[in-house]
Symmetry: C2
Subunit: 280 residues, 2 copies
Amino acid sequence: MKQELLDKVGCYEFLAEPFHCDFASRLFMGHLGNHLLNAADFHSNDRGYGMNYLMPRHKTWVLSRLAIEMQEMPKSYDKFYVETWVESAMKYFTSRNFKICASVSDGSEAEKVYGYGKSVWAMIDTETRQPVDIFSIHDGLIKEYIETEKPCPIAASSRVKMGKDAELVRTIHTYYNDVDVNGHINSVKYIEHVLDLFDLDYYKTHFLQRFEIAYVAESHQGDQLNFYVEKVGDGGKTEKDASVNEPQKMEEFCIKITKISQNSDIEVEVVRSKVKFIKK
Amino acid sequence: MKQELLDKVGCYEFLAEPFHCDFASRLFMGHLGNHLLNAADFHSNDRGYGMNYLMPRHKTWVLSRLAIEMQEMPKSYDKFYVETWVESAMKYFTSRNFKICASVSDGSEAEKVYGYGKSVWAMIDTETRQPVDIFSIHDGLIKEYIETEKPCPIAASSRVKMGKDAELVRTIHTYYNDVDVNGHINSVKYIEHVLDLFDLDYYKTHFLQRFEIAYVAESHQGDQLNFYVEKVGDGGKTEKDASVNEPQKMEEFCIKITKISQNSDIEVEVVRSKVKFIKK
């Protein structure tokens, strides 16, 4: 029996819980990231190609890239909505977009939009860890859900280039609460660890306008994580679109995370990230 | 106009979100703690003595103690319910209980109960940091909501005694994501930091049956936190009720957290905690 198709766009309601908000009562980016991942999860489950279907078949979605760009962060106790849809699907990768808004989106000019997100996902076999053909699921069902018209007006994740001079600024250990159900360091925890590189005082004077992260390899509990930071525009690099973006008000940082596993001294890159702050 | 009284017991639905679950697909205790705090928040807001009423009046609830005892942890994607009610109220402290169950509680023997919680709260003035008379809020309205009949069959938080031999096992720094809206280290983050003292391998062979924590003083971003651990029963101490509790299957640890603030070398106690694991 053919399942009836749902709307291409799913919409999910969330609450900016008080303990998920920062010193300024604004939702932490890490918790927003978690809500986007939940929305992706609900959306794909509802449509038959989510974890509920994949897990018993030893397959899983793997988040490869995530970019989030915000005009404003929801405040403590704000209800907000995450819309999500699949913008494109290829054999080994899908692009999924997000829109974060204050009310159910009606496309009117009056609606309040907090921001947008873009993500890239792969599917793997959990036993072989090899990529899976996404179109093998329900005979390419996901193709019925491609939505290309709905706007998501932010740049996709770029390839974050790091110079050789990036500075090692922090080394941390990984613990029980960092580890997800796959035994890997949780995608959201990396977001928190990256944003923890900036001081509370920095957040008091800067708004985190854009956050992007690419997951390069997996790390495990007990791994030591090294954080390298490079300020964009430093070291003689030129700032693109400087005149448009008022560079004096903007600060961009590229971050590379490497791991050193227990009983090893090989340093392996696990994450690249880029963050953009606007001076308040 | 007198507001109509609601039920004394509030019931709130939550979802064990996949990224809030550990390697074994069980909800992390820290996230459960967060849900209990949310339930407390919703319950008191609905009844007129919550943060929504207090914050504009420069008052706030402060969590003083929390004990959680579980028979089982909700699994990934489980819906569960947190019931909460105020068991007693005095001038400067209230006791609030929690019941965590798989369905809306009907008191039948068939209902599945995950566990229970007990907490103690004070109210303070956010400007003077001094205690506030809880009965000054709406002319003692909270007294209308005392529920003493509903069972919560776990021990209240005890005074955690630490010997002089507790070992310093970890020192961590505190960062942006640790800090709550009051500028203090978030109550839930302490739960995570305490439980991070135990290794993934330990959780594979032990069930966290009881967690309790007492908040002694506040710490701030930039403070260094020191963790001291003492195993109960070690060092010649006797285990009460040893015959009943099958001590060979149980391991208890007392944990003390101290802070050393920036530009200071004074070590101040901020948290005491006690955890009880059952060997699987």
